[in-house]
């Protein structure tokens, strides 16, 4: 007989095992979907997960794709750990890109070592400014940060549209919606000749190290953890809640803003209407798949990044619709949430008692 028993305490082992379980279940369900669609499941999975990263170029593209996801997810984990539901990282990314792109455009015909640091800093500040809106509204006016941060995503995209169509559009560009190209000094350096992977990856790695230190070695990290478990306890312990809320939003916004900088000063090199294929939303999946743990987030960002590359390869070589990549991302989150059930309940096999 199978019995479901509630655990006294959520299991720590299961906590880190469920993401792995979710990935295995996703692969299995994905194979099944391919089979039903009439594709050879193993071949399809091979084109999805192995072929795209089989060479140096493919692997560098994987890192390129994972960099913004990792950076944003690290930032989001500050918010999520402390019970602040920032859903608007995409908006903070966009606004960061707008501010840093604006600065880069000021220097469009200049070269100089000082340009890039200013451009990067501008992006972080842009992201922080934009994240401070839901934070301040939440702390002082009790608004719901989920709604405010989400709605601001659309506002930021409209601002970007306005700028690239209107005042910032390339004067030599026949009024098409794009800005000038940035000067070389405003571009993040490429790490290897012929590949696109750029210095932005160091920003992501730095964020991983710093966040690990804050989470596990500082008083702030402890406060965040307590607030995450119980807001009442945090209040009882006398933590200054408002200050912390604003701080985690600012960190989160800075990370998202830097991800935006990485895209426009890395592979894109200008501002146009589509600087991010919704990295800010996908990073939410990455943060949870990585269990809000810096090292977990590294792995999660790589796994989610490969669903993008795999979808392209599978379409080119097997004519599998590219949108299956999004199906995979959805399935990973779905299975993760479903297997979280095992955190709180265990399945017991007992001998038949009839």
């Amino acid at each position: 007989m199978i019995k479901i028993v509630k655990r006294d305490q959520p299991s720590r082992t299961i906590f880190f095992l469920t993401p792995v379980l979710a990935i295995i279940l996703t692969l299995f369900a994905g194979g099944l979907i391919f089979y039903v669609l009439g594709f050879k499941p193993f071949e399809a999975l091979k084109f999805f997960f192995i072929v795209p990263i089989a060479d140096m170029y493919g692997f560098s593209e994987l890192l390129l794709k994972a960099t913004p996801l990792c950076l944003i997810a690290i930032g989001l984990s500050f918010c999520f750990k402390s019970n602040n539901w920032n859903i608007g990282a995409e908006g903070q990314l966009t606004f960061g890109a707008i501010v840093s792109g604006g600065v880069a455009l000021l220097f469009y015909n200049q070269e100089g070592f000082y340009i890039l640091p200013i451009v990067i800093l501008a992006g972080a500040i842009g992201g922080m400014l934009y994240a401070s809106i839901p934070a301040i509204l939440k702390t002082y006016f009790n608004t719901n940060e989920i709604l405010v941060s989400l709605m601001l995503v659309y506002v930021s995209k409209l601002i970007l549209d306005y700028l690239v169509v209107g005042p910032w559009s390339n004067p030599e560009g026949f009024n098409f919606p794009e800005t000038r190209q940035f000067s070389e000094s405003a571009r993040l350096p490429i790490l290897f000749e012929g590949l696109r992977i750029h210095a932005g990856i160091f920003l992501a790695l730095a964020a991983v190290v710093v966040s690990w230190f804050i989470f596990y070695k500082t008083y702030l990290g402890f406060q965040m953890k307590v607030s995450g478990f119980s807001l009442k306890t945090a209040k009882y312990a006398g933590y200054k809640g408002k200050k912390m809320i604003i701080l985690v939003f600012l960190i989160s916004g800075a990370c998202a803003g830097l991800a935006g900088v990485g895209e426009i000063t890395g592979p894109i090199g200008q501002l146009h209407r589509e600087v991010s294929p919704d990295y800010g939303f996908t990073a939410i999946i990455v943060a949870f798949l990585g269990r809000l743990h810096p090292v977990g987030i590294i792995f999660a960002s790589l796994i989610v990044a490969i669903t993008y590359l795999g979808a392209e390869t599978a379409q080119i070589f097997m004519q599998i619709p590219k949108y299956t990549g999004q199906v995979f991302q959805g399935m990973i989150l779905f299975f993760l949430l479903a297997s979280d059930y095992l955190l709180f309940f265990k399945i017991k096999f007992t001998g038949s008692k009839n």
Binding site: P167, N175, E178, E274, L309, E312, I316, Y323
Partner: protein, 356 residues
């Protein structure tokens, strides 16, 4: 005997050689990069119809749909160039810089970029369609059939392509009905059924009894059908989505161009070009006219279509005035392609300002 043997040996070698050359030529592979899903019944759908024409002509094709104009476009292009494709069609404006960048790395692969203006390398061509010719036809129908003299127009982005369409439409409508006004709502999207519906409703509320669109979804013609006003299909024949409302559609017909270019690659005659084809070359096609269009209008439209095709009539023939009454094109003159390519002012009769 010996000589005959050698001769036949040589000729059979030559024969074999031609066979292989023919086989190699036939093996040309074309790739297509799409901005949207192939099922959008608009822009991407029509490019995919063109791709199928290339398949039907005996060439292998590959496509990748839903490729964002972000950093991802470059990777998809490089992968296609790297995996044995000889010619790559990139079918959205935002692919312009990645197309030129990847073209530099793959000089043996031909690139064809739709709607752009950059041809930085000898293996990059650009192509676009003179949709404004189709819009002159729509304007003629709208001007003849409106009762309220207010025509609604859902526009996407204030770029020359769209402004040119609005102007061509309005000029043609004024020619048959000097009292008409064209009201514009900017949806700031190419494809968003929700936003497009809102825009169409707003125009109908303002008294428009005919709605034209320069966005890609079928939402607008469906709203028109419900509201009992007329509309025009965009990119593909949208009649089946709103049989009463749709008077006709302007179809984008890429097939002949795609087949011609892929064949040119196969024959080794491909060269860099900037193509801008209209009704005459069959890149712009007018769908069947709806039975609601009276016969006198029908005759006028058919004549205009013939004259645009033959070049007897140009959609931008002077005198053309802008909104402030300044002369844009003198009497009897026609606008040249340079003026059309950079057109960023409304003609007289269009209401409102270009958002900036």
């Amino acid at each position: 005997m010996h000589k005959i043997f050698i001769r036949s040996f040589v000729s059979s070698l030559v024969f074999l050689f031609t066979l292989t050359v023919a086989a190699v030529a036939k093996d040309v592979k074309a790739a297509f990069v799409y901005i949207g899903p192939t099922g959008d019944h608009g822009w991407t759908y029509q490019h995919d119809v063109g791709r199928k024409a290339v398949e039907a002509a005996g060439y292998k094709t590959t496509y990748v749909e839903g490729v964002p104009e972000s950093a991802d476009a470059e990777r998809v292009l490089r992968q296609l160039a790297n995996s044995g494709h000889d010619v790559i069609f990139t079918t959205s404006f935002g692919y312009m810089n990645p197309t030129n960048k990847v073209a530099k790395e793959f000089p043996n692969v031909k690139f064809e970029h739709a709607t752009g203006y950059k041809r930085e390398h000898p293996n990059v061509s650009t192509y676009a369609a003179r949709f404004y010719e189709g819009r002159a036809i729509l304007g003629t129908i709208a001007g003849s059939m409106t009762k309220s003299n207010v025509i609604g127009y859902v526009a996407s982005f204030p770029i020359p392509e769209v402004i040119r369409g609005i102007n061509s439409f309005t000029l043609a409508a004024q020619k048959v009905n000097p009292n008409i006004k064209t009201k514009i709502v900017w949806a700031f999207t190419w494809y968003d059924p929700g936003k497009e519906s809102e825009a169409a409703k707003a125009l109908i509320d303002q008294g428009a009894d005919i709605i034209a669109q320069h966005t890609d979804s079928t939402a607008i013609v469906q709203i028109a059908e419900k509201a009992g006003v007329y509309a025009f299909g965009q990119a593909s024949d949208m009649d089946k989505f709103a049989p009463k409302a749709v008077l006709t559609s302007v179809e984008n017909n890429w097939g002949p161009y795609y087949v011609e270019r892929v064949k040119a690659v196969a024959n080794g005659t491909w060269n860099q070009k900037d193509t801008w084809h209209g009704i005459g070359d069959g890149m712009v096609v007018i769908s069947d006219l709806d039975s609601a269009i009276p016969s006198d209008v029908r005759a006028k439209v058919n004549q205009l279509e013939k004259d645009l095709a033959s070049g007897k009539v140009h959609a931008f023939t002077g005198p053309i005035y802008d909104q402030k009454g300044n002369l844009m094109v003198a009497d009897g003159k026609t606008a040249d392609d340079g003026m059309l390519a950079g057109m960023m002012t409304y003609v007289k009769g269009v209401e409102g300002d270009i958002p900036n």
